[in-house]
Amino acid sequence: MSKRVLVGVKRVIDYAVKIRVKPDHSGVVTDGVKHSMNPFCEIAVEEAVKLKEKKLIKEVVAVSCGPQQVQETIRTALAMGADRGIHVEVTGNDYETLGPLQVSKIFAALAKKENAQLVILGKQAIDDDCNQTGQMTAALLDWPQGTFASEVALDGDKVKVVREIDGGLETIKINMPAVVTADLRLNTPRYATLPNIMKAKKKKIANVKPSDLGVDLTSRVEVVRVDEPPQRQAGVKVDTVDDLVGKLKESGRI
């Protein structure tokens, strides 16, 4: 098997952090805030590494777009078992306005350049909550998409994907090359062990610029402002179930 998988990994504010909106309403505070790999991207990396362990693919390439710090995220993927990394360097204003459209153009260009047969991404990033990049990458490549995957099985030149949909699950079969996006229940990502973290330091991360890939980063979407959501009024504690039912009846909820 000579198949190659491209895995997209995004560096985001850690999922457990309570975010703060900047006083000038231009965004959220990111300086000095704990960042880590987007949880859905971890699942994508785990799935790619598992496919390699089953000897169904030959090489796993982890890709991240952003400033210098995203190399840490790529290192994490390498420590989990990815073979090499590609850092697509995007900084300054370009990084501020970097969205799924631009990222999908980068991934599509890299997938072709690297001759990948599969692109695995998380279903959404927990910062922008867009849930777009995988679908858009598939569109730009004219490849089929298996989104919100909870089960992935390679079957010759096809991929069987069980998808999480609103009413339950659905199974589709898509041609390779393909794009798959990982849902939470696809797998449980492994922890990188210390020896593997040490080994990951020796693995190569190539540096690429979007212009090398012929990708224009112009964005036609502007963030006008970012606000705190309305705060809920403090509630009351009730002592008994009867009190609770009484209160709900009073307020007309039951």
Binding site: K18, D129, W143, P144, E170, V241
Partner: protein, 333 residues
């Protein structure tokens, strides 16, 4: 004086632009019934001020077309019936939408932010080379939208300068359009030939007599505190007394108590019922993202420090195994 003239002029111009606006709503259905979120998408589309068309694609469209033609605010229903649309695969629907766009030049294309809409619209947007906007909760102007980011912990106002605005609509943020009183014309659009990249195999849907989670008026949700799948029966009994849907936290889904389509949260369903009862749920950021716009929130938890109490209108610090059956009994009276 000059300013006054300019203002009037501007207003006329805006009016003119709005008249030229036209929106396509991609209808979600199962070849038999319209999915309720489409009605919310139609309401959002009507807020834009232009003409609203709906596209119904599927293997069997007649009944859905009949229903959608009666929905208030719909001007035209475009119909594409073909076997290629089996399973509503995005590889097949995208060329159809692009062909429709070429023919009618819509300024806006939208759908509900369900698994269907989220799967399809970004693919359409990429093909149009535009950045889509996900899960909007408000329309300020035809090019300015509000959506949540960071699991609902910030509201982001976005101005979209794309030639076509492609967006998905949060169902709970827009009232469903009335299903009577409309009289739309119907028009067939030519189905494209099959792309043949993907194949729909099967579906396994969770069957239930309870109302659908995303649109239920009352939701009872359970978390890790339920301890087992069997114990969820306590919640089903309570839900039955209130004609409520039953939801769950990620912990309950991961522990295998209930199937994942019951998950409420950032990565599950977003609900905003009149009454949300969280039982044995701590209230992690990711769960709150899916329910904190509920009108009234009730928390039943034995841990008085649980974060859920910070958003609950009524909190009961108690053992759920005692409190829930008591509540069920109290409602039976």
């Amino acid at each position: 004086m000059h300013r006054a003239i300019n203002k009037t002029h501007l207003r006329q111009l805006t009016g003119l632009l709005q008249r030229f606006q036209s929106t396509l709503v991609v209808v979600e259905h199962n070849n038999d019934k319209l999915t309720p979120i489409t009605l919310s998408a139609i309401t959002a589309a009507n807020k834009l001020g232009g003409e609203v068309s709906c596209l119904v694609a599927g293997t069997n469209c007649a009944k859905v077309v009949e229903d959608i033609a009666k929905v208030q605010g719909v001007k035209k229903v475009l119909v594409a019936q073909h076997d290629a649309y089996k399973g509503f695969l995005p590889e097949e629907l995208t060329p159809l939408i692009l062909a429709t766009q070429l023919q009618f030049s819509f300024t806006h294309i939208c759908a509900g932010a369900s698994a269907f809409g989220k799967n399809l619209l970004p693919r359409v947007a990429a093909k149009l080379d535009v950045a889509p906007i996900s899960d909007i909760i408000e329309i300020k102007t035809p090019d300015t939208f509000v959506r949540t980011i960071y699991a609902g912990n910030a509201l982001c106002t976005i101005k979209c300068n794309e030639k076509v605005k492609v967006f998905t609509v949060r169902g709970t943020s827009f009232e469903p359009a009335a299903t009577e009183g409309g009289s739309a014309s119907t028009e067939e659009v030519s189905a494209s030939s099959s792309a043949g990249l993907s194949e729909w195999i099967e579906q396994s849907l969770t069957k239930s007599d309870r109302p659908e989670l995303a649109s239920a008026k009352v939701v009872v949700s359970g978390g890790r505190g339920l301890k087992s799948g069997d114990n969820f029966k306590l919640l089903y009994d309570l839900a039955d007394q209130m004609n409520a849907a039953v939801g769950a936290s990620r912990a309950a889904v991961d522990a295998g108590f209930v199937p994942n389509d019951m998950q409420v949260g950032q990565t599950g369903k977003i609900v905003a019922p009149e009454l949300y009862i969280a039982v044995g749920i701590s209230g992690a950021i990711q769960h709150l993202a899916g329910m904190k716009d509920s009108k009234t929130i009730v928390a039943i938890n034995k841990d008085p420090e649980a974060p859920i109490f910070q958003v609950a209108d009524y909190g009961l610090v108690a053992d759920l195994f005692k409190a829930v059956p008591e509540m069920t009994a109290a409602l039976q009276k």
